[in-house]
């Protein structure tokens, strides 16, 4: 392969050829439009951190008026859906079978305990620890119900110190408002990485890659030619997701579409690069798709901070998240939608995404040369 050097004209021809190929491939169109739409709908409806009506049991062992009042307080809150019981054995079984997430015991000597603080805690709360998240919710909110009820009964004296919380950017604390922008990043990871990995692996598998390689076009031109159409599709898909988020799910758009465009473009660089790297290192669609799922979607889902806060992870895992491009994209998207254009946050994130992308492309360049030599 002599007389190489980069030719814009040849690249243009390749981009044109690949674009035609993409447009003729119904699955590419399906991936760009149908899959993101379906996934957006599923993410938006299925993922919610707003717990309410958690099923619990309330065991009323005491017949006192105060005990009845406290039980009524549990029934009255929208956080719980109460199954009343007289004996803790009735509800204990339901916790084991998973029908109830826990239960509250108002003991026989509740009235005496209420009079003398020294007799121990007022009520006992049992939670189903097999679901730790729900368990801590039940524990926290059950304590809250008791505390509020006691304070009210004691004649609600204002606490000595009170906190006045204000949630910025999301005052009504709708979890969808921060989950949906994050979901866009996850969906784009899937589409960018998976699509590229599979398309290029298919060419290797069918031997058409070798055919293109034997032309005077350089490796760089061929790969760019493949990527440019997918880059375009990726941008269109992001824009479509953003439209769904704002119009169908009422997520505010406080930043600019220009910022969204820049961020998405920066994100597509590592995303497509990763796909290319996967296909270059395994020339089979089966292995490529497995790798794309394992290194693309799941790490993005788990390690990007989209659902699980990065700061809560063990230190070694936090370090690993710096390699996940979605990490930067999730944080930036949440800001674009909910806060506005905070370039001081975007620019470091964009640079990080480009750096990860550059790393992928360097590895691709090394890998591709090698496979052509052998």
């Amino acid at each position: 392969m002599s007389g190489m050097g980069f030719s814009v004209r040849r690249l243009g021809g390749l981009v044109y050829k690949e674009s035609l190929q993409v447009l003729r491939d119904p699955s590419a169109i399906l991936v760009t439009f149908a899959l993101p739409t379906v996934l957006m709908l599923v993410f938006a409806f299925a993922l919610s951190l707003d717990q309410r009506n958690v099923p619990i049991g309330v065991v009323l062992e005491s017949d006192g008026a105060d005990a009845h009042e406290l039980a009524a307080a549990f029934s009255g809150t929208r956080f719980f859906e109460v199954t009343p019981a007289r004996d803790r054995r009735e509800v204990a079984e339901l916790v084991v079978s998973g029908k109830l997430k826990g239960f509250v015991v108002i003991p026989q000597d509740f009235d005496e305990r209420l009079k003398e603080a020294s007799r121990g805690s007022l009520v006992q709360v049992i939670t189903d620890g097999s679901q730790p998240n729900t368990a801590s919710f039940v524990g926290t909110y059950a304590s809250g119900v008791v505390a509020t009820w006691v304070a009210h009964r004691d004649g609600a004296r204002a606490p000595a110190i009170s906190l006045e919380p204000r949630f910025w950017f999301n005052p009504e604390l709708n979890s969808r408002h921060f989950l949906i922008p994050g979901a866009i990043a996850i969906i784009m990871t899937l589409i960018g990485t998976l699509l590229t990995a599979m398309v290029v692996a298919r060419e290797w598998e069918r031997g058409t890659m070798e055919a293109v390689m034997s032309t005077p076009a350089t490796v760089l031109e061929i790969l760019l030619g493949k990527l440019v159409p997918y880059f375009g599709l990726g941008l269109i898909a992001t824009f479509g997701c953003a439209m769904l988020a704002t119009h169908a799910f009422g997520v505010p758009m406080r930043g600019s579409y220009f910022a969204l465009f820049i961020l998405s473009s920066a994100f597509l660089v590592p995303s497509l690069g990763q796909g290319l790297l996967i296909s270059a290192s395994s020339h089979s669609q089966l292995v490529a798709s497995q790798l794309a799922a394992q290194t693309g979607f799941l790490p993005a889902f788990m390690l990007s901070g989209f659902l699980f806060e990065i700061g809560n992870m063990p230190g070694w895992l936090q370090t690993l998240t710096y390699l996940i491009p979605a990490r930067y994209f999730v944080a930036s998207l949440q800001t674009v939608f909910l806060t506005g254009d905070v370039w001081a946050q975007f620019i470091p994130n964009i640079l990080a995404m480009l750096a990860v992308g550059a790393g992928f492309f360097l590895l691709v360049a090394r890998n591709t040369h090698k496979s052509m030599d052998t």
């Binding site: 097999s130 730790p132 059950a142 395994s282 699980f308 946050q345």
Partner: protein, 365 residues
Amino acid sequence: MRLAAQIIKEMLVNIFDEQTRLSFIGPPLLQLCLLSYAATMEVRNVDIAVFNEDAGRASHELVERIGAASFVGDVVAVDRAETISRLVDHRDVLVGIHIAADFSRDVAAGRPASVQVLIDGRRGNSGQIALSYLQNIAKDYGAELSGSGSGGMPQTEIRNWFNENLIYLWFVIPGMAGILVMFTTLVVTALSIAKEREQGTFDQLLVSPSSPMEIVIAKSMPAFVIAIGQAALMITVGALVFDIPLAGSIPLLFLAVVLFGFSLVGIGLMLSAICETQQQAILSVFAVGYPMIMISGFATPVENMPDWLQTIAEGSPLKHFLVIIQGSFTKAMPPLEIFANAWPMVVIGIITLSLAMVIVKRKLQ
């Protein structure tokens, strides 16, 4: 006899290929061990910005107590309210605390003193939890100051059954195992028929004496074996490496694994029969698989979903399998409850396999 030969052939092709086989063991195990540590909703290392305009002792004591709390990472002292908004805007801190100049005076005079707390709503979940911790600190300190201390005796005694310390890994590992097994199985089965068709070897099957039933059974065997093997491996790792108590019945759990594998193979083969190319087959796996994760109850509870989506979730084998595997680790879910989640998987498997068979038959003719 013909069936046995065909099964052996499928096994040879699928399981004894080095690269393919490794991709079934190494990466999923690595993911199981790596990603599971990420899934925690506990709140730790919260960075807080404090703007304290008050020179009194009470406010300093409050800030000190907050700084000493175990969930707090760094406390950044700032000297302007604008700095708080900038730090929150840039996501440098999750919480900003603004104590006004008259805080200590109010406390000393016995007037209710208030503190402004600004929380980043982009991270609403952690923010809410952090707020509840902060409120406990404020309440305790306030009670001490006003001398009305509740005597240190908590009003509620909380006990977490099955997982006393609420170790998240005990919940996440079984769930991740289900997800990873699902993906491997779906991909392997979905590719099986589609691959033959794309490579033109499906035509050879057409002229062979095999019946559609034999083709479908032979095609499903490798994935079925892989599903059971992978699940068994992951359950063993969960129990032995991660020390998760396996309190439930092991035979019942194994039965659930078999039925889970059966239903997955059914779904995969149905997709494979519908799709013309491998690429379509893989895309269909993702189009079906990712929504199944979302509605499985792994990430957020099924009960939080709208009713119509909960109904759809009943059609996902992953949802049922997660109920069983999470009910078998840490606690011993009663057999009745296990069967209640086992039979839907059988139904899903039968329906999808029959559909696969019908489609193959139609394409054979």
